[in-house]
């Protein structure tokens, strides 16, 4: 039985690799102990803005207000039972994010695919590395992943570079792989550089996870090897914070 089978992990993703890299305790909590990982309003905001922009790209003549409405509708559904005080702040940012995103991406035309699935075999890894890219314009050889935030970074963030390197590796070297950072007042699209190196880093993280999981079939044993940084946003949710305290005592 492989280390992944032991923990019921059918695949790895850039997201799980980035979690392992940034917060190994959160990875153990989610993947080995199968504890819930409540998604906060910021993540729901990202999903909702993406829905609004995807609608605007698929229907180029759809009014921007209609796209914003689609986004808000999804956000309200996702946060219907949320008591998180940050939901209002995230909701208020959605209209402007959809607007700036459409200004940036509508010039690309109608995407040939949205939310495309990719799967990549890593030599020596017993599970596939999978992911979902946001938009591809195959006829223009462009693939874009959308990120929403309240500020636009001056360059591609490393976890995002690894993620998009996977898409490029699977969809083809010829593609221009890009990331669009969408904020209420600003938007920027950056082209990924050094994708082979970032893919290589992602593969190394995968193999490290495999090696780490192989150390023990007892999740508490694995937990004893790391210490969570409880100030990290990975543990910001109250339930998660409590579980961390019960398991690690910190």
């Amino acid at each position: 039985m492989s280390p992944f089978e032991r923990y019921g992990i059918a695949h790895l993703s850039p997201s799980s690799c980035n979690t392992f890299s940034a917060a190994p305790a959160a990875f153990i909590l989610q993947k080995c102990m199968k504890r819930s990982n409540p998604v906060g309003p910021a993540a729901h905001r990202g999903t909702s803005v993406e829905t609004g922009i995807a609608h605007g790209l698929q229907y180029p003549h759809a009014p921007v207000e209609e796209c914003i409405s689609k986004a808000l509708e999804q956000f309200n559904t996702l946060c219907a039972l949320s008591i998180d005080s940050r939901a209002d702040k995230e909701r208020s940012a959605i209209p402007e994010m959809v607007k700036t995103g459409l200004v940036e991406l509508r010039p690309y035309g109608i995407p040939s695919s949205i939310q495309g699935h990719v799967s990549h075999e890593v030599e020596g890894l017993s599970v596939p590395l999978i992911g979902y890219y946001d938009f591809e314009w195959a006829h223009k050889n462009v693939l874009i992943d959308l990120k929403t935030s309240h500020t636009v970074p001056s360059k591609i963030k490393l976890p995002h570079a690894r993620k998009v390197s996977l898409y490029k590796a699977v969809r083809g070297d010829h593609l221009s792989a890009r990331i669009t950072y969408c904020a209420p007042k600003k938007v920027a699209t950056y082209e990924l550089e050094n994708y082979r190196e970032h893919l290589s880093a992602l593969e190394r993280i995968c193999l490290t996870i495999q090696k780490f999981l192989s150390l023990s079939d007892d999740p508490l044993e694995l937990a004893s090897l790391v210490v969570p940084d409880v100030d990290s946003f990975y543990y910001a949710d109250a339930v998660t914070r409590q579980e961390v305290y019960q398991i690690w005592g910190v």
């Binding site: 991406l105 010039p107 690309y108 035309g109 890593v122 030599e123 020596g124 017993s126 223009k140 462009v142 001056s154 360059k155 591609i156 963030k157 490393l158 995002h160 570079a161 221009s176 890009r178 990331i179 920027a188 699209t189 950056y190 082209e191 990924l192 550089e193 050094n194 082979r196 190196e197 970032h198 893919l199 290589s200 593969e203 190394r204 193999l207 490290t208 090696k211």
Partner: protein, 225 residues
């Protein structure tokens, strides 16, 4: 130590399990340590491995009967050491990462058999031919075949088998395939070995992610409009 050569033993950290190519039989074996004894497992048919050709070592090796082998090697591209004794023969050593079907771990493969070196040389040629198109990656080979090579000398006819390694793919360097220059390699002291240990291929600085802003491509017809 003025000339930077450590004559001391490299210690137990130097011990890496091996795979052995038997040129007389044309078979590849994995040597495992089981309850204190060596056990040979024939992996000729299942052999598939990542070859660390970036850190191939060449030079001279002695395999004394009943004793530990003695290596006087330099990483490829570095100056080769002098032949230490008449017992040392020209040879090569390389680290390979076996696929899980034939072991799954990192092994050392070393030999002075000309038939083996001939096959390794051909595999290295294939590596060099493909490395530009596969930057930062290492080649994966299978042992496709073994071919007999007959030589005559002193009235005797000897047949050895040369391995035919087929390059089947390129992969990122496995995280556990780490080259650490051994103390017995030429010009390497233990401290230098530790200092120059490399854990992955690529440049010495972290790669940039990308900060060039781009806009939507212009349609061809607009170009001429």
């Amino acid at each position: 130590m003025a000339i930077g050569i450590n004559y001391e033993s490299g210690g137990s950290d130097d011990i890496i399990p091996i795979v052995k190519y038997d040129a007389k039989a044309g078979r590849m074996f994995r040597r495992d340590r089981v309850n204190g004894d060596n056990e040979q497992v024939d992996i000729t048919r299942s052999f598939k491995a990542v070859f660390d050709f970036e850190n191939l070592e060449t030079g001279h090796i002695a395999f004394p009967v009943g004793g530990a082998p003695d290596f006087a090697l330099a990483r490829i591209g570095d100056r080769a050491p002098e032949k230490p004794s008449a017992d040392h023969r020209q040879g090569a050593r390389i680290l390979v990462k076996l696929t899980k079907d034939c072991g799954g771990d990192v092994r050392e493969l070393a030999s002075t058999a000309k038939a083996f070196l001939r096959g390794l040389d051909a595999a290295h040629d294939a590596y060099e031919a493909g490395m530009a198109a596969n930057p930062g990656k290492l080649p994966v080979y299978i042992l496709k075949d073994t071919v007999p090579i007959t030589s005559e000398g002193g009235g005797n006819k000897t047949t050895n088998y040369s391995p035919v390694f087929e390059l089947t793919s390129w992969v990122a360097r496995p995280s556990d395939l780490t080259y650490i220059p051994r103390a017995k390699s030429a010009g390497i002291t233990a401290s230098a070995a530790a200092a120059t240990a490399t854990t992955h291929a690529g440049s010495s600085t972290p790669p940039a992610t990308g900060s060039s802003r781009v806009s939507a491509p212009v349609d061809a017809e607009e170009d001429f409009g």
